[in-house]
Every structure is written in structure tokens, then in C-alpha cells.
């Protein structure tokens, strides 16, 4: 008796796409590199949020981290830009087409040294985009020199010890005007996924600093960006939960501990308090908490700052909704009458 083996229909998301449609090329990064895990979470987040892949613009600079957009979302648009210039190139691209969801992946070297100038100006403009720093404390691609996010006392394999203070991109971003700022760890699937989904729902600049160990050059004893170090020192400031606008909020929780923040698209970011006196909507409080954590040698993770409703750079510039390169001639070409009037005025 023949048994009919029906191929099981693959699971699809709310726009009817299987997760396969969110995948990218095969990674050429080292096995175990934190960047690979972050690519996986990006895939999950976009899949679960039901974002149409063609609606995503992937930006990056130069580095192993900046190569990673090739390893997720093959169906999207991608721009592997210039070392340290992802911020500026993204600014140009976002202003040219504000209808796409912009997701940038940079490294700590790409952002915090050669790219600092562009980075700080992007943050203060609150340009709508997700800016992810895959932070391993070194320049992976050029073989492991210290970057400017390396902690004091962190040791390279060669024995060289870093004695300069790290740049905390999160407190910088908060001070400068980014409206969604947080830190996560490539090894923390749950937290990173929730933060990415909330980032997709946010309108404004999102800065996510994701600690992402470089297994080849910075994962040894003495490194402060290793898997082991993170497992020991990771100190979540809040437990991050996210309920998208298209799902029911389940009300079974102890409301005293949870802060529910309604996002631009109606989704809900739910932060369960883990630290007394921490308020993620209070800038000064957040920056102080971050600075105190450095003193204590902890690596704080979680959502540090969120501000919904602040005008983005697009709002400030008051530009048209349609992509600048796709304007119809009827919308951009003045009529004969208007043109003549203009010329007359110039006489």
C-alpha cells in the first residue's frame, strides 16, 4: 500500500514568507564569530516582524562586521560603503529614500575611531535608522589590533595591554540625541531578538551596541570581550520584552515591575525592572548609570534609553514622502504658468 508523503508546508510569517526568504549568503566569517549569531538574530527579527525583505536597505562600513550584511537578507538592498563612513553614506541614502527600513551594521573600529565624526553627527540628527555596532574590542579584519572600545586592562594574545579608556558609544549616543539606545550580547538570543524587534518598530535613530566576541583575536583569558568574560560580567539593567502591534498584549504580569512603552507603530516595549531607580526615559539617569557601571567593571546590557515621539531628521527637513529618485515629472516639473511667473520675477 502506497503512503502519500505530503511535503509539510513550511511555516510562514504574517506576510506569508518562510524564514528561508530572510537568509543570506553562506558566511565566510570564522566559525563561532559573534557576528554570525547577530546575523541569525537579525534574520529572526525581520521574519517575526513580517518585514518585506525588499523594503530593507542594509548599510555597512568596512570590517568583518561590515561584511556580515552579505550573510542575511539576500533579497534586500545592500550598500557596503567606506571604512568609517557608514554614517555619512547612510545619511545620503536615507534622505534619498525614506520609505525603506534602514539597517546598518558597523564594527567598533569602523565606528569608534575612524568613523567617530560621522557617528556623532548621525546620532545628533536622529536620522531614522538602526545602527548596530558589532563590538569585539578589536579590528578583526586587519588581524586584531585594539579598537577604541577596548577596556582598560584588556589583554591581546601578544600580551599587549590596553591602557586607554574605552569609548562608550551608548552614553555618547544618548547624550547626542539618539532616541533608542541599548547594549546586548551576541550570545544572548532572547534579549538581542527582543531589542532588534523593538528597533524595527522605532522611528528615529536606534543605536545597538552588541558585544560580539572575535574568536580568532580576542576571545582568550585576559580579554574583556570574550564569551567567558561576558558570561561572567553581563549585567542586564532590565529584562527586555516586545509585543508587536499585531499581537495581543497578555496582561498577566506584575505591573509594578514592568514599564510598558508604546512604540511609534503601536507595538509595546516592555521593560522589567532589574535595577532599582533606573528609568530608561531619563537621559541623565541613564548616562550616570552607564558611567557607574564602568566604575564597577560591569557590562550593563538592556535598553538604556528610549524616547518616542521626538521629530526625526526627516521631519525636521520636511521632505516629501516619495523617494527623491522616484518623483514623477508631473510632481517636480513646474507648469508653464508657474515657470513664466518665476522668470518674470527674475527680470
Amino acid at each position: 500500500m502506497a503512503t502519500a508523503t505530503a511535503t509539510p508546508t513550511p511555516k510562514v510569517n504574517r506576510i506569508g514568507l518562510p524564514i528561508l526568504e530572510y537568509r543570506g549568503g553562506k558566511s565566510t566569517l570564522c566559525a563561532g564569530c559573534g557576528h554570525n549569531a547577530i546575523s541569525e538574530r537579525i534574520i529572526d527579527a525581520l521574519y517575526e516582524m513580517g518585514v518585506e525583505p525588499e523594503r530593507v536597505m542594509k548599510m555597512s562600513g568596512i570590517g568583518c562586521s561590515s561584511k556580515s550584511p552579505a550573510y542575511f537578507l539576500s533579497r534586500s538592498h545592500s550598500f557596503n560603503s567606506v571604512h568609517g563612513r557608514m554614517a555619512a553614506v547612510s545619511t545620503g541614502a536615507v534622505l534619498a529614500n525614506q520609505q525603506l527600513l534602514t539597517l546598518g551594521v558597523s564594527g567598533d573600529g569602523d565606528t569608534a575611531s575612524i568613523g567617530t565624526g560621522g557617528f556623532v553627527h548621525l546620532m545628533r540628527r536622529n536620522l531614522p535608522m538602526i545602527y548596530i555596532i558589532e563590538n569585539n574590542g578589536v579590528y578583526g579584519l586587519t588581524k586584531g589590533q585594539f579598537s577604541a572600545t577596548a577596556d582598560i586592562g584588556s589583554k591581546l594574545k601578544t600580551g599587549v595591554i590596553n591602557d586607554l579608556p574605552p569609548i562608550d558609544t551608548c552614553s555618547l549616543a544618548i547624550q547626542l540625541g539618539a532616541t533608542f539606545v541599548g547594549r546586548s550580547f551576541s550570545g544572548d538570543k532572547k534579549q538581542l531578538l527582543a531589542m532588534l524587534k523593538a528597533a524595527i518598530a522605532h522611528k528615529g535613530t536606534v543605536l545597538l551596541d552588541v558585544i560580539s566576541p572575535c574568536v580568532t583575536f580576542n576571545d582568550h583569558e585576559g580579554s574583556t570581550k570574550s564569551y567567558k568574560f561576558m558570561q561572567e560580567k553581563d549585567e542586564p539593567i532590565n529584562e527586555v520584552g516586545f509585543v508587536p502591534s499585531f499581537e495581543e498584549i497578555d496582561v498577566d504580569y506584575d505591573s509594578g515591575e514592568i514599564r510598558d512603552i508604546t512604540m511609534h507603530d503601536g507595538s509595546s516595549l516592555r521593560l522589567r525592572k532589574l535595577h532599582e531607580d533606573f528609568d530608561p526615559t531619563d537621559k541623565i539617569n541613564s548616562v550616570r548609570t552607564l558611567m557607574e557601571s564602568h566604575e564597577k567593571g560591569e557590562v550593563l546590557t538592556g535598553v538604556f534609553y528610549i524616547e518616542t515621539g521626538k521629530p526625526t531628521f526627516i521631519d525636521l527637513l520636511n521632505i516629501v514622502d516619495e523617494p527623491l529618485g522616484q518623483q514623477l515629472e508631473s510632481a517636480t516639473k513646474p507648469t508653464r504658468e508657474i515657470f513664466d511667473k518665476l522668470m518674470n520675477n527674475l527680470k
Binding site: 568596512i62 567606506v82 571604512h83 568609517g84 575611531s113 575612524i114 567617530t116 579590528y139 579584519l141 586587519t142 588581524k143 589590533q145 585594539f146 577604541a148 599587549v160
Partner: protein
Amino acid sequence: MHKQLMKGNEAVVRAAILAGCRGFYGYPITPASEITETAAELMPKAGGVFLQAESEVAAINMLYGASSAGVRCMTASSGPGISLMQEGVSYMAGAELPCVIADITRGGPGLGNLGSEQSDYHQVVKGGGNGSYKTIVLAPHSAQEMADLTALAFELADKYRTPVYLMADGFIGQMMEPVEFPQAAVAPKTPEWAVAGTRETRGNLITSLFMDNDELEQRLIRLQAKYAQAEREETRSESFYSEDAEIVLVGYGIVGRILKAVTMEARAMGLPVGLLRPITLFPFPKLEVARHAKHAKAFVVVEMSNGQMIEDVRLAVNGARPVEFVNRMGGNVPTREQIMEVVLRLVMEHNVRRSETAEEARLAHV
């Protein structure tokens, strides 16, 4: 001193320290990072400063500061990083400040790739920043020359008070060869024009800014005079079987090595082929090229670029002889066969005489 086996990149740093260099400011980039890493290790041991800058823009400006204070200093980078340094190089040329910049070239434009190209010639030899300036450019073709020309670069930088480039490619940087260093080290000393924080040097003014047109013109005339002097006194090239050659190959750096092999192959066939290898790219050995044009029937310029040095060869030949071009790009290397094919065609076209037997040729020339 005995010969030591080492990579060209390492030879640069050792030679720099022996030449009195006490400041290295760099930013990692393949294939120049090895120089930076060796400097990180050795410079502090020599009592000097090593600093990993936040960008190439920062690195060159650190040289601007260090050089003003009278310290012999250097950096190393590659294509995209050199592009970023051009602003600083222009300022230093204008302010007449010495420094040494090692450019270990890679593929371009933009990010290109990590392969070896010679496509930085224009931005390095022609003065890639703004203004009427030039920089001296030295082009080694062996690990030994990496050391020798580094030492020379510091000498010339001080003598002419100008930035000097050492331009090599990834092959020469990576190649392990025996290298011999000078017996004595140069002791660092502060030049009298520097702003060294002393009573005597307090009045020294280092600037590239001259608001008065005539004053700026005077500075520019002085710069041009220096470049003219460098052309008279510092031009260097190697003639390899080229004195009687009817076909003269021209190539620098790693291409020079390939052209030596081609020359030997052609000579073994009894063909009067020779190589003229520019060692200084600015000043360019134009008189040597012109002199060779007297007995050559044709020139073959070989480059790993779209043809940049060939412009200088053509200017020097000034239409007197045909100048053929052989190249590869994108990190590819011209092959002996590719060059030989052109050589043999030229032999036919120009009725180049061939010695009776290869053996005779060998006896005559080797």
C-alpha cells in the same frame, strides 16, 4: 653587520630606527599593517613613540606635529589610507616639513582589493593634495632596498624639508630576503628650523599659510627650486643590460624583478634587450630615459596599473621612439610570456639585430 633574513616590511622599521626615526604614527590597513606592527614592537624599545591613531587623517597630522618639533617620524599605509593622508601631506609640503610615508600599495580604486597594484603612482608621485608641490618618491624592488631606501628617505626628507614616500607593493613587503644594515646608527638631533620648545627656536615659524599673494608666490618659487635641485642631485635608476639595448624595458618595484627575468631570457636568445628601472619616481630619471632613446628602437613600459608611469616615460622620450605598454590590473601580475610576446613583436617590427648565437650573446654580455 651580517646579513639577516627578513621581510621587507620589517626591514623598513629597523632601517628607520637606525636612521634616527623616533616617532611612528599609524593606522592598520592590509598590506601595510606589518610595518605598523613591527614599529609597535620596536619603536618603544628604541626610546621612540608608537601610536595607533584613530584614522589615517589623524596619523598624518600627528606627523605634522612631531615633525614641527624636529623629530624624525614616519607612518605606513596603503591606497585608501594614503588618499586620506593627502590633506596632511599637502600641508607638510607647504610648511616644508620632513617625514617619511611608506605606501605598501594595493588594488584600487576605492576598496579595490588586497592584491598588489601600482595604481597609487598618480596620487603619490604627482602630489595628490592641493597646491603646487611634489614629494620625493623612492621605489624599492627588494628587501635590501626597502632598508636602504628607508634610510635614504629620511636623509632626503631632512635635506629637502619635504615629505618623502617609500612606495612598494605587498610582494616586496612580504618577501623574505637577506638584508644588511648600516654599521652605525644616526643619532637623532633637532634641526635648527624646528619649534623645539627652546629659547633659540621660539621665533621659528612653521606654516603653509601666506595671505599675501607675493609672499605665497615666493614660497612656491622656493619649493620649485628645491624640486629642481632634487632632480639634479637625487635622481636614481638602475640600468640592467640597457646600455646597448635596442629594446628598453621600463618598470619599477616588483615589475623590475620580472623585467630582469625577461631581459635574461631575451639576452639568452641573443636579443639586445635591457631594463631601465627607475628607483626615484620623483625625481623621475627622465634624462636617463632620453639617453636610452638614442640607441633604443623602442621602449616597453610595464606596469600593474592602467598606465600611470608611462606618461612620464612618454614625456621623456618625447616622441622620438615608440613606447609600448604592457599591463595587468586588479592584483594580477604581468607574466614573462606576456611581456616576451610584445618584445618579440617589436624585434620583428624594428628589425632588431640578433647575435649569431645565444652562446655568443652570453659571452658578450654576462
